[in-house]
Symmetry: C2
Subunit: 418 residues, 2 copies
């Protein structure tokens, strides 16, 4: 697919790629390629040239103004383009464009977690059928090389669980709530003004972004992509400053944890706020940073940490995938492979017990007696001014729902990461 003849467009002795979507990440790609051209040339063996940029907008002031196209057609028609970076976001038309590019013999690299979490199985199959590559290191954890970490170094190992702080916006909000004792709404509003949170913050604060990322990581770790609807997802909106202070008094921090447990063929995936003890490295991850902890019998806990988003880290991960493909390294890597998880192998969240932090306007005796009916080992954290705080034994969601009905005074329930 290399172009060895001089092109009218004037791009020769180059490996040509196209970028779909010239937003934050797409713009970062051209920057990274410019700034690291020597290192990229050394890795790939040639210069890499962004020959087309697909976007609905024009960029008259950009040095790439003349590369901008408004339909996918010229890219599909140009055999000199061997690889396409899809940084559009959203499932559609990213899915259709990616399929068209692969059918035209072009490898595709993406930062788009939604399209991978939704159509990952179809996209990997399409790549295989067309003898091209489909890579998505940038879809999870920005510049943190966690997907290669799972795929290559852990190749001789069975992963038993993945727990991550996968959304920088919510971790920033939780950090500010803790250090400045400010309410969720207050910090969110500020984050929106500063541009750290979207005007519609739902994807971040309701756990949707984290859910897509843990679906991808779990698919790599288990070989099975679960459905969106199989992931128990709890919003962060209800977490209060009191909860965060209670976690500190207990010995940890509140974090939005995206987790999965892989037990043979059975998989369970969830996203919810959790009490994370200081003994767990994830508790110490603050601000917009992400962390992913992977547990296996051989390696124990391995954690990856870094900026989980942002223009350059994410673009850097896209360009690393570009280099892997253009240097032929990706052909021989243990590439991502997963199939759709069938209904039988997804363990319902309702069956999983977690220790929980409960704060209630209730008497200690009554609450503990009610909890004793469901679990052993409830530990009282404090009991003053009519407010009792406990860490319970393991409780399932249906049990928690019943206890909530029994105690109208329950103010807060947050699971514990053990």
């Amino acid at each position: 697919m290399r172009n060895d003849s001089a092109e009218p467009n004037g791009i020769d002795d180059m490996r040509n790629i196209a970028v779909l979507g010239y937003g934050v990440v797409g713009g970062g790609i051209t920057t990274v390629i410019e700034e690291n051209c020597a290192k990229i040339r050394e890795t790939v063996g040639d210069d890499v040239c962004v020959k087309y940029i697909l976007d609905l907008r024009e960029f008259p002031d950009s040095p790439y103004a003349d590369r901008v196209v408004h339909t996918i057609d010229p890219i599909l028609a140009d055999d000199s383009v061997e690889l396409v970076c899809e940084t559009m976001g959203g499932a559609h038309p990213a899915f259709e464009y990616s399929v068209s590019c692969m059918k035209a013999g072009k490898s595709v690299v993406t930062s788009n977690k939604e399209v991978v979490a939704t159509f990952g199985v179809e996209l990997l199959e399409c790549a295989k059928e067309n003898g091209v590559q489909y890579l998505f290191e940038a879809s999870v954890g920005g510049g943190i090389p966690v997907i290669r970490g799972i795929n290559t170094a852990l190749a001789a190992d069975q992963i038993s669980s993945v727990n991550g702080i996968l959304n920088g916006t919510t971790n920033y909000i939780l950090t500010k709530m803790r250090t400045e004792s400010r309410t969720f709404d207050d910090v969110l509003a500020e984050a929106q003004v500063l541009g750290y949170a979207e005007r519609d913050p739902s994807a971040d604060i309701d756990g949707i972004d984290a859910k897509r990322k843990i679906m991808i990581l779990t698919a790599l770790a288990s070989g099975k992509l679960v459905r969106d609807t199989d992931v128990y997802t709890e919003t962060l909106r209800n977490v209060t400053v009191e909860d965060i202070h209670a976690a500190e008094a207990w010995g940890g921090a509140v974090k939005l944890i995206a987790g999965s447990v892989i037990d043979g063929d059975a998989i369970q995936v969830h996203v919810c706020p959790m009490f994370v003890p200081w003994s767990c490295s994830l508790a110490h991850i603050t601000d917009v940073y992400n962390g992913i902890s992977i547990t296996s019998p051989v390696c124990g806990d391995v954690m990856f940490y870094g900026r989980g988003a942002g223009r350059l880290p994410t673009a850097g991960a896209v360009v690393a995938d570009v280099c892997a493909i253009l240097s032929d390294a990706a052909k021989m890597e243990r590439n991502p492979v997963f199939v759709k998880a069938d209904d039988g192998c997804v363990k319902p969240f309702d069956e999983i017990g977690f220790r929980c932090y409960i704060r209630a306007n209730a008497g200690q005796v009554e609450l503990c007696e009610a909890l004793a009916a469901y679990c052993d080992g409830t530990e009282v954290l404090s009991d003053k001014a009519g407010v009792v705080e406990v860490i319970t034994g393991k409780l399932t969601k249906p049990e928690l729902d019943k206890i909530r009905v029994q105690f109208a005074g329950i103010e807060s329930v947050i699971r514990v990461l053990d």
Copy 2:
């Protein structure tokens, strides 16, 4: 090199490997291969069989008793052995055996940081000349996939610095000193009884182990392997409980940091105890855990964390390299490449300024006046009962040496990781 004919030894339809040195890591290799045989078969395409174990000892009770040999010759002579795991430790005869194996057409995988730090350039050249692979993921960070992390995912990026907690024993000692307010000697003696520290603890506590590991990581990051003697290395023996408490009061922890700075062609590598602020993830790494933080303009700070040693994590990393080679993945990976650093590119440690924590039996005014001659911005932490504690501006080693002469009352000097 594969053996497709039935062997008298009865090992057929297998990929045969040998293990040199059946100690802690070597023994872990057979365990990992047994316990993860399904995953390994899936990765490699065949079963992997340990056909020979080279050790001076006999292991009559081991299921591998009949595989034990006492010289390298039968391994070199057996063409069905395509890969050798060198887990002997020490530079010799590990170097000579590894060269012999590669000359006999066998790839070599090692967990031996001493041989890589000493002869890494020669061993990689030898692999190249003989068309085989030489991999050493297990030589740094046990089960933490940091070498692949540097080599593949950061392929499009320039690494500007590496900072690591690379020795679990010293980190365990520092953790115990902090949490139990016990002296260095006391905790070291206990660690020796428990088997966490060697009877001769010098390699750990004098920074030699950490030095070898940072030499390897820096070689991967910069393409240049510095000499042992180019690494400024300071023992941990002089760190006191007072220092650790002072770090806490300041807002961080004392850690044995192995660090390097890569600035274009100039490299600087050092190992020394440092004040690490809580804002840096490395400060939160406790017990025997290791952490490696890599900084680059594109990705910012990326950190890898996990058990840096131990039988199974280290053996798991060896087996991951075995799988990479036997599945042909390693052929196309961006394999480790580095050359010897020439004298010109190693920046002398004496030229590098660090902020420092200084505790002295002296008057605040006198100490600050003396420091003012060398650096700006000295900050007084405390001044009571004739003991003054300060954080200085940036000071080089020669400057510190002069100040020590000037102030006989200086009890402690520890650099700050900024």
